[in-house]
Amino acid sequence: MNKSVILSAAAVACLSAVGASAGTLDDVKARGKLSCGVASGLVGFATPDANGEWGGFDVSVCRAVAAAVLGDPKAVDFVPTTGKTRFTALASGEIDMLARNTTWTFSRDVDLKFTFVGVNYYDGQGFMVPKELGVSSAKELDGATVCIQTGTTTELNLADFFRTNGISYEPVPIETNAEAQQQYLAGACDVYTTDASGLAATRAAFENPGDHTLLPEIISKEPLGPLVRHGDNEWGDIVRWSLNALITAEELGVTSANIAEMGAGTENPEINRLLGTEGNLGEMLGLSADWAKNAIMAGGNYGEVFEKNIGENTPIGLARGLNAQWTDGGLIYSPPFR
């Protein structure tokens, strides 16, 4: 009897698991709101402001999709997730999509049954240390205590990095970025490691950001992007092309300032196809003709979103680097709208 009790209890736990495996688009339209999983607070990527309005680089992807699908960038329910809860939330149908600096890996794509629709930030894992330690390279960190967010790829990269370099460390597992910040500032760990963009964002929130330095080593590839569940390719297409619309808009020079004017029709057929004045791309996706226009108007094109949230003029101050358009020597590249 005990066995069946355990099994049934476990079954209850995942009863709610699968409800919305197909027809996510219809669900979202019926609900009138997009349910979007984001980080539980990472400056520049996903944080609520003083009025409780979510904003940030990852949040903008959610808003663009909501605008494309529902015509309203504010029609989003933001679900804060931790590194540990995010995949369960997505797999169980609690959220329609996840835009939470999540690294695209083979096993997440294939084994966890998710579809990564693209990359919105090319990142790598870095280390932050207080300047007073006088460390200039990650290889000098033998014996250091390292704060690490548990349930992330960084945890595995860290183990591999120290192992291959034959040096030892003491991991301090931590649940959220906020806790990590507190432990790091209290000196309970010497080093904080996570994606370099996350480190920059965390440091920006410090009282004295200048006292801390990022080490030059980037020890991994972390392509971060939004993802959806396997099994609903139509919905995956919508999220993928909403992201691509933002990227293409930057490439073609469509900005939130000139979009109204360009939306009336231009000489460039690709812009016309993107903004819905030519062809029927919106109809193919099951959306309105001006879906991409709405997505771009939600927060501007990819470049505008980047500059506004994490660019060089913000406290986070990230350079475009790998995240420049392919035409500027970066990796940001969208397939054509045709």
Binding site: I6, S8, K113, A188, D190
Partner: protein, 422 residues
């Protein structure tokens, strides 16, 4: 003359299952059981179908894959290339460590506080009341976080021990380092060690048995055994002659002389923690996560145990105390010889459930980053492999086994101390 005829034989009819009181209750029970089993089967079937439609069938093969992550507190050897099963085993040991430490501390504290709450000293009794109410009425998760925050924020970090005029210095004759990463205490080292026995070869459940430790324990147990023999023979002499021979030096000698001899033979010395590089090296490192969890769980559970102990003492009629007083016993001896032994039979059954609670509450460890089994198998392993159902079911089974073992052991103890009725 009367003829006896057999009463007409009643043949069994189906309607009797409902209308005959002899069968009715059995019928109802069978039907209820059927419904329960149907519901359970539906749940299991639904789960399996849903997982299949997601393309995730239930498998446990991932346990032999390399875990890939590190665990800071490990009682046995572990490195990140070991399997997920090994990681779960290390986590299980961490759970058991904090549960055992917590149960012992909570019991000692709880008994003291429970007795002191009944003290005639007004101040002491009030302070204990405040303690009990404060700890009992705030969720244990908050106490764990508070304990961790205090340890992290209030204690000096290792870099404060550095330099010409360090801000912090080591305690107890420079042997103990109290930092915000944990407490480093001296460790036992043996220069002529006997080595270890490796059990279970290279499997995930392998462990080492320290021969030094076994030798010391063997000598200690033998010493205690002989000490007991000496006491028994002294008792015999006392009964026969009325004179008790002095045994204290003999008894101490028989325990300690062989013990010291074996320690010297093994080359026993202490290894002191020393500041090297980023951290203290050497010594035994008791991490803040362990200390915070241990402290919070003990203090919290002690408040409940105190109430149980107080209830148990109050359950003993006051006449017993007065009778013992009339025999000339002092109040301390009344408590330990008369009241507590009788109170135990009231105290132990609710104590079992508090031990179970403490063990289960230890799963809150992740709040302070203590890698117990919930943190390894139910945390990182689950997250890295995406096998939620398998990990959670196994985790539930593990806690079930731990809890049933604790309550089994405590029930055996209870049946030994309970009142023997004639």
């Amino acid at each position: 003359m009367t003829t006896l005829t057999d009463p007409p034989k009643e043949s069994f009819r189906l309607s009797m299952l409902i209308y005959d009181t002899r069968y009715r209750s059995a019928t109802i029970q069978v039907i209820a059981l059927l419904f329960f089993m149907l519901a359970a089967a539906w749940l299991v079937n639904n789960t399996i179908n849903n997982l299949n439609s997601l393309g995730k069938e239930i498998t446990f093969g991932f346990f032999s894959e390399p875990a890939g992550y590190d665990i800071n507190q490990r009682l046995l050897d572990y490195q990140n290339r070991d399997s997920h099963l090994r990681a779960a085993f290390i986590g299980l040991l961490n759970t058991l460590v904090v549960a055992v430490l917590g149960c012992i501390t909570a019991t000692v504290l709880g008994v003291f506080i429970g007795v002191l709450r009944l003290s005639k000293n007004w101040i002491v009794a009030r302070i204990m009341t405040v303690y009990v109410e404060m700890f009992r009425n705030v969720p244990v998760l908050l106490w764990i976080i508070v304990a961790m925050a205090i340890l992290t924020e209030a204690l000096p970090s290792p870099r404060d021990f550095r330099g010409e005029n360090p801000e912090a210095s080591m305690a107890v004759f420079d042997t103990v380092a109290v930092t915000n990463r944990g407490v480093y205490i001296p460790e036992a080292l043996f220069s002529r060690s006997l080595g270890d026995i490796h059990v279970l070869g290279d499997s995930s459940l392998r462990f080492d048995i320290s021969l030094d430790f076994m030798a010391i324990m063997a000598v200690l147990i033998a010493g205690l055994f002989f000490s007991r023999k000496i006491k028994q023979s002294a008792d015999k002499i006392q009964e026969a002659t009325g004179i008790r021979p002095s045994t204290i030096w003999k008894r101490l000698g028989v325990v300690f002389i062989p013990l010291i001899a074996v320690l010297v033979a093994l080359g026993f010395h202490l290894g002191y923690p020393e500041l090297k590089g980023f951290n203290f090296q050497g010594g035994t490192h008791m991490r803040n996560s362990l200390l915070a969890l241990w402290l919070a769980l003990s203090l919290y559970t002690a408040a409940f145990i105190a109430e149980i102990v107080r209830g148990g003492i109050l359950a003993i009629s006051h006449g017993q105390t007065e009778a013992a007083g009339a025999l000339g016993l002092r109040s301390g001896r009344i408590m330990s010889l008369v009241v507590l032994p009788q109170a135990l039979r009231v105290i132990i059954p609710p104590m079992i459930s508090n031990y179970l609670n403490l063990t289960k509450n230890s799963s809150l460890a992740i709040a302070v980053g203590y890698m117990d089994i919930t943190g390894t198998m139910g945390g990182i392993t689950m997250n890295q492999t995406g096998r939620e159902l398998e990990c959670v079911v196994l985790l539930m089974a593990v806690y079930l086994v731990i809890s049933l073992s604790i309550s089994g052991a405590m029930n055996v103890y209870n049946s030994r101390v309970k009142l023997v009725e004639r």
